[in-house]
């Protein structure tokens, strides 16, 4: 799809009417798929109206691709129905899990990086892509802990997934910075380890700090503030490596005015068009 601009923002409820009325200059919008699973509600009607004017990306948070209990077929059916309704140019999910048996924990929980989880994750992506009849993107997570059972680097795991499933990467630059800071990984090596043609979307976002012990501060992926300078610098590296790919600014808490969001994402122009 040809985008009028590679820059997009997350479409959130407080801005629906303003977007419809003013049609801001932005290349595309992204929404969380699960917020639109009830196709009869007003939000879906508005989304369809907005989709007549802007490309839409569907970003899932609830499929739980890393769950040992498999994929819920009902979830895929609903996602597929939404895809048919909205006709998104991208569909993405996360390198995470959140369901055990019939119980869902609504968060993007980390998975251990080892051969067992790689096989399972690839099987679930293949099943999902076959079911939907299209490619999906997988986003690298922000994480706050690592597992004893991990024996691979996260980035190697992510690259292996792409090689084995033909899925592409939604590279969240803020998540790279957050996870690398929390676990002592090298963010530059992380970006350099990803094949140049594997990334089809970038995310940028703000995060916050949390002191969990004396002299131990974690970065938390809160999406509640402007993008920090270190993430912009990583974004620059990412653009240099992967070229100009659709870039989304995420801002999900303490949501500012639409003008403020646009101003923030326009900062990316300095890197995209440099």
């Amino acid at each position: 799809m040809n985008l009028s601009s590679p820059l997009g923002i997350g479409l959130r409820q407080p801005h629906y009417q303003q977007v419809l009325l003013e049609r801001p200059q932005i290349g595309w919008f992204e929404v969380h798929s699960e917020n639109f699973f009830h196709l009869g509600n007003a939000a879906v009607e508005i989304l369809c109206e907005i989709a007549e004017h802007y490309p839409i990306s569907l970003h899932g948070v609830g499929l739980s691709l890393g769950s040992t209990d498999g994929i819920q077929k009902q979830h895929l059916l609903r996602l597929n129905a939404l895809i048919k309704t909205v006709k998104p140019f991208l569909v993405s999910e996360h390198l995470s899990w959140g369901r055990l048996g019939q119980v869902v924990m609504p968060d993007l929980l980390p998975i251990p990086y080892n051969s067992e989880s790689l096989n399972l994750f690839c099987d679930h992506i293949n099943y999902t892509q076959d079911f939907l009849g299209r490619e999906i993107l997988i986003e690298n997570p922000s994480s706050y802990l690592t597992y004893k059972s991990s024996d691979q680097a996260e980035v190697d795991f992510l690259v292996s997934i792409c090689e084995r499933t033909q899925a592409k990467i939604l590279l969240d630059v803020n998540n790279i910075f957050v996870s690398c800071s929390n676990h002592g990984w090298d963010p530059i090596k992380y970006i350099d380890a990803i094949p140049k043609n594997a990334v089809k979307e970038l995310h940028i976002a703000g995060h916050s700090l949390k002191t969990i012990a004396q002299e131990k501060v974690l970065r938390i992926d809160t999406h509640d503030q402007a993008v920090c300078i270190e993430v912009w610098e990583l974004y620059k590296m990412a653009i240099n490596r992967f070229g100009i790919v659709p870039t989304l600014l995420e801002w999900d808490a303490h949501i500012p005015s639409l003008e403020c969001l646009l101003q923030e994402v326009y900062k990316a122009k300095a890197y995209v068009f440099a």
């Binding site: 509600n41 119980v103 998975i111 989880s117 012990a213």
Partner: protein
């Protein structure tokens, strides 16, 4: 059980029980690290409840609502079953009714159950109602046998308390002044042009609608309703259904 299954099970148990073993975590400060996920899960669920039950939130106040939501959430039986949080929250009214600390708010469960139906109506599929002329076309000898299929966003509720008064007080942001007598309120909830509406009705009309809603034929419905409410005005009740575009089809 595989290593991955063990790890996920341990993670789940640790989310629900702070004293659970964390020997699957490699990071230092494992308890504090895990707590970030625990807090996010609880916050996500609490925010979802606050969106679905804004009136209950107003009636209880933020702090009390947060506390009630927390105790609801940490019971594993109450956790969501799907990845779509709009599907979740049905058990919250019943949970509220069972809380000893909330017994003095006898109307709370009623209002919560009402808000759940508003939520269902909002998310229900849209449907076109029949043209009233369709009903007139039915031959006289068939009319008592017809059954109604209602639009998906129609819900009936019989509250033990005056929902309309409670709603008015919430809207005036003065929930403290609610003085209620137990007084049944019939409500027909529906959605028209994406606006969810509450139509307050008498007990006789509600009984009439309920029989139809449950699949009784028009003839059976009239017989059963008039047995209990001899003064029910069937013509007006049917006019109500037609004028509010509640009938999707005739069966």
């Amino acid at each position: 059980m595989s290593l991955l299954e063990c790890t996920q099970k341990s993670f789940y148990e640790a989310i629900l029980d702070k004293d659970s073993a964390l020997d699957f975590i490699a990071s230092n400060y494992s308890s504090a690290c895990l707590d970030i996920y625990r807090v996010t899960i609880i916050e996500n669920l609490r925010n979802s409840l606050a969106l679905t039950f804004p009136g209950v939130c107003a009636l209880l106040g933020d702090e009390c609502f947060k506390s009630a939501a927390y105790f609801f959430i940490i019971n594993p039986n109450h956790l969501p079953k799907t990845g779509c949080l709009d599907d979740w929250g049905e058990d919250f009214p019943q949970f509220l009714a069972k809380q000893p600390q909330l017994q003095h708010l006898s109307y709370l469960k009623d209002y919560a159950a009402y808000e759940w139906l508003l939520h269902l109506a909002y998310h229900a599929d849209c449907a076109t109602a029949i043209d009233p002329i369709e009903l007139e076309k039915i031959p006289e000898d068939r009319i008592e046998h017809i059954r109604f299929k209602f639009i998906p966003s129609m819900f009936l509720y019989n509250a033990a308390f005056p929902i309309d008064l409670i709603q008015a007080q919430i809207n005036q942001a003065d929930a403290s002044s609610i003085i209620l007598n137990q007084n049944n309120t019939g409500v027909v909830i529906t959605k028209t042009e994406q606006q969810v509406m509450s139509l307050f009705v008498n007990q006789d009309d509600l009984a009439f609608f309920k029989y139809l809603f449950d699949g009784e034929s028009l003839g059976q419905t009239i017989a059963k309703t008039t047995e209990k409410y001899p003064d029910v005005n069937v013509t007006l009740a049917i006019h109500f259904l037609l004028s509010h575009s509640l009938i999707q089809s005739l069966l």
